[in-house]
């Protein structure tokens, strides 16, 4: 099988204007402009096969978005060859656009004032989606995430999560071969993230769509991607299966609870609650030997090894026993994993 995306030795260098200070400076800028060169992407080579879901990770400013912009044809590489669906994206931007879908987190591409369904109808015409395909997709969306409830709501009246969800649905509407998602889960709460993971995973499997995903949440790639590519300062430092990385983000999850207060003396109470939870969990999950329950100021904090006990089961047990007023699930940042990779010397 031919790769659907082929990048070989791609460089991207930005010319950044050095601005001089003050009014005199800006007048000087008009006549002579001094540039500095900034290499955002450095000798990146990637082959991505049809149907693959690839997690593209890296710290802020690593060059992830720049890479995606080159694959979508918005930016021209400074050097190197790139083919997407057998075309050079930059030279065939509009043709390429017909076969791809793009989601940029926090930047909706739907018509702001229109109900989602009207945006979809316009997209149907723009991409010339056959009636059959369009109808099937809408039904499938409704089945998957109950999208029907959102269809008649205007985009500007939606929450960030609902908007992102609709943007993802829109990106898949014309059955593109590749979908690029740049930080789609940024700023979303736990339940919306999990909804989006389910959606993307289903769409990828049922349609065989290739997906390139960037994120800062290790949970996203853990749920979705087999293959991870890590880029740092423009250079690919890791390209392999996620399994090899598992020891760096592992099976440990941290979750914090705040319970409904029924006593004045809160300090003593949280300690008491932590004891209660510890006893409860020791009884319910005897095999969870490394499970830790600690007090963190007003919070009761749990460190769970998912190989011993599933986090969702633990949360359920706690919920049955106590009334929770607040809960916080700490995500594992990709930055932390990358740092550990450097320390661990996998490279």
């Amino acid at each position: 099988m031919e790769p659907i995306i082929q990048m070989s030795h791609i460089d991207k260098t930005f010319k950044v204007l050095k601005r001089r200070e003050g009014i005199k400076g800006s007048i000087l800028d008009l006549f002579s402009r001094e540039h500095t060169l900034l290499q955002a992407v450095n000798d990146v080579s990637l082959d991505i096969m049809p149907g693959e879901m690839v997690g593209y990770l890296g710290p802020n400013g690593a060059g992830k978005s720049t890479t995606i912009k080159m694959m979508t044809g918005v930016l021209e590489p400074t050097k190197g060859d790139i083919l997407v669906n057998g075309r050079v994206p930059y030279e065939n931007r509009t043709k390429n656009a017909q076969d791809i879908g793009v989601v940029f987190g926090q930047r909706t591409q739907l018509w702001w004032a229109l109900p989602v369904i009207e945006s979809f109808k316009i997209l149907k015409d723009i991409y010339r989606i056959p009636d059959r395909v369009y109808k099937d997709n809408l039904e499938y969306y409704d089945e998957l995430v109950g999208a029907g409830q959102l269809y008649h709501k205007a985009v500007r009246e939606m929450s960030l999560g609902q908007r992102t969800l609709c943007d993802i649905l829109a990106a898949f509407l014309h059955n593109p071969k590749v979908v690029f998602m740049d930080e789609p889960t940024i700023g979303l709460d736990v339940s919306m993230k999990s909804k989006i993971r389910t959606l993307v995973s289903n769409l990828n499997q049922s349609k065989g769509t290739t997906v390139i995903l960037t994120t800062h949440d290790m949970g996203d790639v853990d749920a979705l991607c087999k293959r991870i590519v890590i880029i740092d300062k423009g250079t690919v430092i890791y390209d392999n299966e996620i399994e090899h990385l598992r020891k760096y983000f592992g099976a440990y999850r941290t979750v914090k609870f705040k319970f409904k207060a029924n006593r004045k003396d809160t300090k003593g109470m949280v300690a008491h609650e932590a004891d209660e939870i510890r006893a409860l969990l020791a009884y319910k999950f005897p095999e969870a030997e490394t499970l830790q329950v600690t007090q963190e100021e007003q919070w009761v904090q749990l460190l769970i090894n998912e190989e011993e006990a599933r986090m969702m089961d633990v949360i359920h047990s706690v919920m049955e026993q106590k009334e929770i007023v607040d809960m916080n699930l700490q995500e594992i940042s990709t930055e932390k994993v990358i740092q550990k990779i450097y320390e661990g010397g996998v490279l």
């Binding site: 930005f14 955002a40 400013g61 978005s65 720049t66 912009k69 979508t72 044809g73 918005v74 930016l75 931007r93 509009t94 043709k95 656009a97 017909q98 791809i100 793009v102 940029f104 930047r107 909706t108 591409q109 018509w111 004032a113 229109l114 009207e118 109808k121 316009i122 015409d125 723009i126 991409y127 010339r128 205007a154």
Partner: protein, 269 residues
């Protein structure tokens, strides 16, 4: 029925669809709609009052009578309607570029310029259109101009060609945003020039006549095309060249805008 992707019919269809939805949603925000309509009325009425006040003191300006000037005024309002209605999104380009939102226009398999402009239809332009028609009809009647086929055709072609110049100027000015920061002041300046368009350029000195014909061609926005109806004896070669110049000028502005858009690389994020 397979529509040609680059075809006019395809784009007209998409535009119509976006427009209808946009109007529907604007109507649903009634307060917004009413306030902007009232604002539009005030702007136009204020324009008329200024105009009228000037003529209280001068019965003629460089040989142009009140009703002739009113004719030019009406003509220029009509000629400025298309830029107001269809190209108003130029005013938002600066924000779209600096926030990085402009990138979203690059992901659709349709013409980038079309897609960008299709997003906004400014309904206020229609009010201006109505005022323009009224003014023109009134002065037409007062001047006793014949309602001949020649004059009607001349008016329609003249208004359409004249409208191209402001469209082109605004495209040029807004496209500067792709290269420089602070191009909005250039846009505002250019937009102000439209107010001079309603005067016969013969009232300016030779230097400005040249500038307004060949540098910032506002003479074509009213004066040259309206000579065809108003002063047949003064028709200049530039009157007949208005449509040709208009088309060339708009096309150049489109190329310039697209060149800017293509080299736009987005803000890093």
């Amino acid at each position: 029925m397979e529509k040609e992707k680059n075809g006019f019919a395809f784009y007209a269809h998409i535009y119509k669809k976006i427009l209808i939805q946009d109007l529907k949603s604007k109507m649903s925000y009634r307060a917004d709609f009413i306030i902007s309509t009232i604002g539009m009325l005030f702007t136009n009425v204020a324009g008329f009052i200024t105009f009228w006040l000037i003529f209280q003191n001068f019965p003629q300006i460089s040989g142009w009578t009140y009703h002739e000037m009113l004719f030019l005024y009406g003509f220029s309002m009509l000629a400025l309607t298309p830029v107001q209605c269809f190209f108003d999104n130029n005013w938002n380009l600066s924000r779209a570029i600096h926030s990085g939102d402009f990138i979203k226009y690059c992901f659709r398999p349709i013409n980038l310029f079309f897609y960008y402009m299709s997003e906004v239809f400014d309904i206020k332009g229609l009010g201006q259109f109505a005022f323009g028609i009224g003014t023109l009809a009134y002065s037409w009647n007062k001047l006793g101009l014949p309602l001949s086929f020649r004059n009607i055709a001349g008016l329609i072609i003249g208004v359409l060609s004249a409208s191209l110049f402001m469209i082109a100027l605004m495209n040029f000015a807004s496209a500067l945003h792709f290269w420089i920061v602070g191009a909005t002041s250039v846009m505002i300046l250019i937009f102000k020039f439209k107010d001079y368009a309603r005067y016969p350029i013969t009232i300016f000195n030779k230097f400005f006549q040249f500038v307004f014909s060949f540098i910032i061609p506002i003479g074509f926005m009213t004066y040259y095309p309206s000579l065809f109806i108003l002063h047949q004896e003064r028709i200049s070669i530039l009157t007949y060249l208005t449509p040709v110049f208009g088309i060339v000028f708009v096309y150049l502005s489109y190329l310039f805008w697209m060149k800017g858009a293509r080299q736009y690389s987005g803000t890093g994020s």
